[in-house]
Each structure stands twice: as C-alpha cells, then as structure tokens.
C-alpha cells in the first residue's frame, strides 16, 4: 500500500513536472519569428525587442515581468521577448541572464543580422533600429509600436488601450 502511494505520488509529480510550461528559449531567423508573431489566436501579444547589453532594456524588464504576472492568466494575453544578442552567446550568456532575472516569458533570439535593413522596417516603418522597442499585436496584426524605454505604468496604459 505504502509502495503504491509512493508510486502514485511519483507519477503525479512527474505529471506536474511535464505540465509546468517551460518557456521557449530559441534562436530564430526573421521568417520564423514572423510565424510566432502573426498567430491568429485571438490574443493581445506584447513583444519587446531587447538585448542583455542594452541598459535601458535591462532597466525596463522588471516592469515588463510584473505586468506579465498581472496579465498572463487572462486568456487573451501573452508576452514575448525578442533578444538581439549574438546567437553565439545564447547558451552561455543570455540563458544565464534569463535565469538570474527570473524571466519566464518565451524568449526568441533573432539571429538575422544581415537582413536588418529588411526586417526592421517590416516590424515598423518608424523604427530607427534603436532598442528597446515594444510592439503590440492583436490576433497577429500590429496595433501599436513604441521605440524607447517604457515604465511599468506606460506599458500598462499601452496594453489597456487594446485589451
């Protein structure tokens, strides 16, 4: 009986482990990123372009994570980070940064340096290429773009305009 109990506990905990949605941390090119951004899933999707070396990006991230905590249980909301760090630093530097800073959203590292001049205007015509930059998509269609650092309050205001 005791054995059965231990076994069932083990099965349950294994199950829980499998179900704890581990966030995606993946290197992608722009075409792959587009399929992530353009999902017809009835969601408001907040996308933040950042890098570990970008001070204002790193400064605004805790606010973004707090906002994500507040909104992520709503069925119509998700947040994605797009890192512009070098792909060669994903496993060494970037993942360690994500762990240390408790970043639990999906993180895609966009590795498409040679075509910046194509994908930057494809994200938004107004984007000069400076980061941080934040884009909001609803149901795969862009509804807002903001270049520059956002406070938690500014982000909440932006989201509430569209949620």
């Amino acid at each position: 009986m005791k054995k059965l109990f231990i076994l069932s506990m083990a099965v349950i905990s294994l199950n829980c482990f499998a179900q704890s949605n581990k966030p995606i941390q993946k290197i992608v090119n722009f075409a792959q990123l587009q399929t992530v951004l353009q999902q017809n899933d009835n969601k408001l999707c907040v996308v933040n372009f950042w890098a570990t070396w970008c001070k204002p990006c790193v400064k605004e991230l805790p606010g973004f994570m707090e906002v994500n905590k507040t909104y992520r249980d709503k069925p119509g909301f998700k947040m994605i980070l797009v890192s512009l760090d070098m792909a060669s630093e994903m496993d060494t530097h970037v993942k360690a940064f994500l762990l240390k800073n408790n970043i639990d959203t999906d993180v895609y590292l966009l590795d498409d340096n040679k075509r910046m001049n194509e994908w930057i205007p494809a994200i938004d015509k107004k984007w000069s290429g400076a980061i941080p930059a934040t884009v909001i998509y609803r149901n795969g269609r862009k509804v807002a773009f903001e270049e520059g650092e956002l406070s938690k309050e500014e982000l909440v205001k932006m989201i509430n305009n569209y949620l």
Partner: protein, 204 residues
C-alpha cells in the same frame, strides 16, 4: 474666401511639416548645420574648419555600445580610405555621461588613444547636436556632401550589413555612398536601418 481658406490650410500644413521635420531630424537633401564641439585633444572642431573637404562621414558613436565597438576598426578604415579623397570621418559621442559613465569625455580620450583614432572624436556636450541630425542610436552615420557651400545630407544609416561578422559583409553602404559621390553618380541606397544602442539622454 476659398482662396483664404486654401492659404490658411497651406500655412497650417507647412507648420505641421516643419515641426515634424524638427522632430525627426534630417532627411536626404537637407542642409546639415555646422557645430562647434570639443575634441578629445581639448580643441574644438567645426565642419567649416575643413576648407578643402568635399564632404564628411559624420558618425554618431560611443564607447560603451557593443555595436559601436564592433564597428570601431571599420570606422578607422573608412577614415583612412576616404579622408585623403576629401571625405574625412567626424565621430561624435551623443550620450549623456550622467546616464552612461563609460561615455564620459575622459573615457573618450582613453578610447581614442587606445584605438589610435585617426579622426576627431567629439563630445556632444549638452546633447544638442544629435537631435538636429535626428540620430537615434549608435552607430548612426550621416554622409554629407559640400554643395554650393552647404553640407547636404546624402546618406543616413548603417555602415554595412553585418555588425557581428565583418568577413560576411556583402553591402558596404557608407563606402558605396561615398564612392558614388566621388564618381558624381546618384547613391543607390540613400537610407538604411540597423539595430543600435539608443542614445542616452535625459527625458525631456
């Protein structure tokens, strides 16, 4: 009455476009204003000091930004190649050292010496010049061409198409622009965009 209304709306439109222009900086064909900024050797530099120049490669860059660092050697190479042809590099650090201490004037002096910069590395003290140009990030290049005594903006954007791997560059945007100016031909690609570090200035 109709005429008055037309003139009025034209004036309003003009006012709006002037304001928009002031916010977003220079466009291709605009005349760039001169400046007087302190160089790392403590002397001031203006574009008008360069009597025999045909134009300039103005690069907003800085010490701290990984993109700017990745391009340091390529900026030196641009100056070595084009200064003698009449298009010297003028580098300007637009960042406020209060927000980015590694971009202080003293740190600029150290960097210029370490890297052996062959061009002036100027400090945009008070962050007044970069908004006029409309620079938003480092590195951000403006190629100017002297035409009838004015410095006309002929190219705005990135240095080339691969910051991370110089050996995999296939489009040298700035070189192509200056080569076209030297040959008296139109520039094929007058604007490009690339990821860079946002310029650090106090929020207005």
């Amino acid at each position: 009455m109709k005429k008055i209304r037309f003139i009025l709306s034209a004036v309003v439109l003009l006012a709006i476009s002037v304001q928009a222009g002031a916010q977003s900086g220079y466009k291709i064909g605009d005349a760039a204003t001169d400046f007087k900024l302190k160089n790392v050797d403590n002397k001031t530099v203006s574009l008008s000091d360069y009597k025999s120049a045909k134009g300039f490669i103005v690069v907003f860059t800085c010490n701290h930004c990984p993109f700017a660092k990745a391009y340091q050697d390529r900026i030196i190479a641009l100056d070595k190649k084009y200064a003698s042809l009449g298009y010297p590099v003028i580098a300007i650090n637009p960042n406020d050292p209060k927000l980015e201490p590694t971009d202080s004037f003293e740190a600029m002096q150290v960097r210029a010496k370490e890297k052996g910069f062959t061009f002036p590395y100027l400090f945009d003290d008070g962050q007044k010049v970069y908004p006029q140009y409309g620079a938003t990030k480092t590195p951000h290049v403006f190629v100017l061409n002297k035409e009838n005594g004015k410095n006309i903006v002929r190219y705005i954007g990135a240095i080339d198409d691969n910051y991370a791997k110089p050996e995999e560059v296939s489009n040298k945007y700035v070189e192509a622009a200056v080569d076209a100016l030297l040959a008296g031909k139109p520039i094929a690609q007058t604007t490009t965009v690339a990821i860079g570090c946002g310029i650090k200035a106090q929020k207005m």
